[in-house]
């Protein structure tokens, strides 16, 4: 079977969801998966990866500081040692930092943020959005190794894969750049790119003082992140990391709720591939309703508390 090496990102021993989906993508494309995992807690994370579909885990140990270039060298080394046909990582900040370097070390190109992956008789192909989703391109690569990053939420993670053999390897420690400190996000909040549900607010929220309404709805879902339009980020109401759109993050959650967002083309570029889109806007003519599956015309200040309560009630029933 074709060997696919997957870089798995982990946090305090917990593999991130997007990486498990990436293993799922590799398995669905008919590969046998060798996962590479590193950092503090890597051994705990490794233990859980068999269940998600990895057949083998290479656990890089001994590095006290993260270095993307050293990690890339280790990943490329594993690919070469195994004669793997593909290398994948999730299209997260870390995956997008490491995968292009692995590609360059192998002197092959990379397809970023792919939403499908297939293996036709040994030749991989994948789909990616161009121009913020205005076009979809299916591409292959003539490079000796197929390298790609997979878009979070686009692939299913496996639940009952099996068990994986874990082998330890010394991590390279001679990085040219090293992470010397990490300031963790407060309260372990989900990132807008990873969350299965995103609740985004726009200028229609009137001011940062009303964001508790957005946060309450996100909290009611339990698995939701909060997002924002650029107008809101530029006004300083919300941090840059929350911006969805052409010049912010591209998200594709199961459910995207746009509140007080007009639906400018640059915003749509970041969220139009969401599975289900809900819009809440007081203007029935707002362009966001053109892409929304469900809409409520009304004042966000009134609709949000009612929606939060309804979602809470429903979750309580389950």
């Amino acid at each position: 079977m074709t060997t696919i090496v997957v870089f798995v990102e982990q946090n305090s021993g917990q593999p991130v969801r997007a990486s498990l989906e990436c293993i799922g993508a590799a398995r669905a494309a008919g590969g046998s998966v060798v996962a590479v995992v590193t950092g503090a807690g890597a051994e705990n994370a490794a233990a859980a990866l068999g269940k998600s579909g990895a057949g083998k885990v290479v656990c890089l140990t001994g590095a006290t500081q993260h270095s993307p270039d050293a990690l890339a060298r280790d990943c490329a080394g594993v690919v070469q040692e195994l004669g793997a046909k593909a290398f994948l990582a999730a299209a997260t900040a870390t995956g997008k930092d490491v995968a292009p370097r692995v590609a360059a070390l192998l002197d092959v190109t990379i397809l970023s943020d792919v939403t499908t992956l297939a293996n036709a008789g040994g030749a991989f192909n994948a789909t990616r959005a161009w121009l913020g989703g205005k076009a979809l391109a299916n591409l292959g690569s003539s490079g000796a190794v197929f390298v790609a990053t997979t878009r979070p939420n686009a692939f299913a993670a496996l639940e009952n894969g099996g068990t994986a053999e874990v082998v330890k390897k010394n991590a390279s420690t001679d990085g040219k750049a090293v992470v010397t400190a990490i300031e963790a996000k407060k309260g372990g909040k989900l990132d807008v790119k990873e969350a299965p549900v995103v609740v985004s607010g726009g200028r229609g929220m009137k001011g940062p003082e009303n964001w508790n309404l957005i946060e309450d709805l996100a909290a009611a879902f339990g698995n939701a992140a909060t997002g924002a339009s650029r107008a809101v980020v530029d006004s300083g109401w919300r941090p840059h990391g929350e911006q969805v759109g052409q010049t912010g993050k591209t998200v594709a959650p199961q459910l995207y709720i746009a509140v007080g967002i007009s639906g400018a083309i640059q915003h749509l570029a970041g969220m139009r591939t969401s599975k289900v889109i809900v819009a809440i806007n007081k203007d029935a003519e707002a362009p966001i309703f053109k892409v929304a599956d469900y809409g409520i015309v009304g004042d966000a200040m009134e609709v949000l508390p009612a929606l939060t309560k309804a979602v809470k009630d429903l979750k309580a029933q389950k």
């Binding site: 292009p100 121009l131 640059q266 289900v276 309703f289």
Partner: protein, 250 residues
């Protein structure tokens, strides 16, 4: 210090996109272009670095002759030199061939630091910066939101899903910039006049065969028409019911 900033010409946001007749490309007729959004931040950081550490800034683009327009615009903001590495098929170049050609040029220039956008808003590769650094054997920090550079080293902050990382590195380095790093200045009239007649050198871009092979390009199916479930707070129950029983997402 020799500083370089890489910029890419991309279709404007409003551009209407059509698939080419071969079904494997985009029809570029009538497209208007601009510099990719993050490249403005890259050039601004290059100019700020020059102001702080002294040196000169070269703006490089791989693109058609006409891309001298964007290069000139950045020179009006304070970049010293521009360079067009001519390739009329720049938009179809894959990340590897772009990075390799840039690496050759950056080496020839003797640059110590190169600024790139974290992603170009046409193909969304988010790959050229770290690939360029890897081909050069340099340090690289991606998605940078804060930067403190000295003559031989630097510290940068980058944003990830889980928080903010502080990264230390030695020069030479490639920095890919994210939103929030700086506020790009606008060119003033004096700057515009000063570069108006300046020649912008053009060289053929190093040919590196693409590995990315396009099988098919299509336009996404338009989203199924949605519906307004109602008005105001009274519509909430209808919405929740639809999300649960129709859409199956609740």
């Amino acid at each position: 210090m020799k500083i370089a900033a890489c910029i890419k010409r991309v279709p404007t946001t409003e551009a209407q996109i059509k698939v080419g007749a071969d079904g494997k490309s985009l029809d570029t007729t009538g497209l208007q272009y601009m510099a990719s959004f993050y490249d403005e931040i890259a050039v601004e950081e290059a100019i700020k670095t020059k102001e702080k550490l002294t040196g000169d800034v070269t703006v490089i683009t791989i693109g058609p002759s006409d891309a001298s327009k964007e290069v000139r615009e950045f020179m009006a903001r304070g970049a010293d030199t521009g360079l067009v590495l001519k390739d009329d098929a720049w938009h179809a170049r894959d990340a590897r061939s772009t990075a390799k050609a840039l690496a050759t040029k950056v080496k020839a220039l003797g640059a110590q630091v190169v600024f790139c956008g974290k992603v170009a808003t046409d193909r969304d590769n988010a790959a050229v910066g770290p690939m360029l650094a890897t081909y050069l054997g340099w340090a690289c920090v991606t998605d940078v939101v804060s930067l403190a550079l000295e003559n031989d080293k630097g510290t940068a902050k980058r944003e990830t899903e889980h928080g903010v990382e502080t990264v230390s590195f030695a020069l030479p380095a490639v920095i890919t910039v994210s939103k929030g790093l700086n506020e790009p200045r606008r060119p003033n009239l004096k700057g515009i006049m000063a570069v108006k007649a300046k020649p912008i050198p053009e060289e053929p871009c190093e040919a590196v065969a693409n590995q990315a092979v396009v099988n098919k390009v299509e336009q996404p199916a338009p989203r199924k028409a949605g519906r307004i479930v109602g008005e105001g707070a009274a519509a909430v129950n209808a919405l929740v019911t639809a999300l649960r029983s129709e859409a199956g997402v609740l």
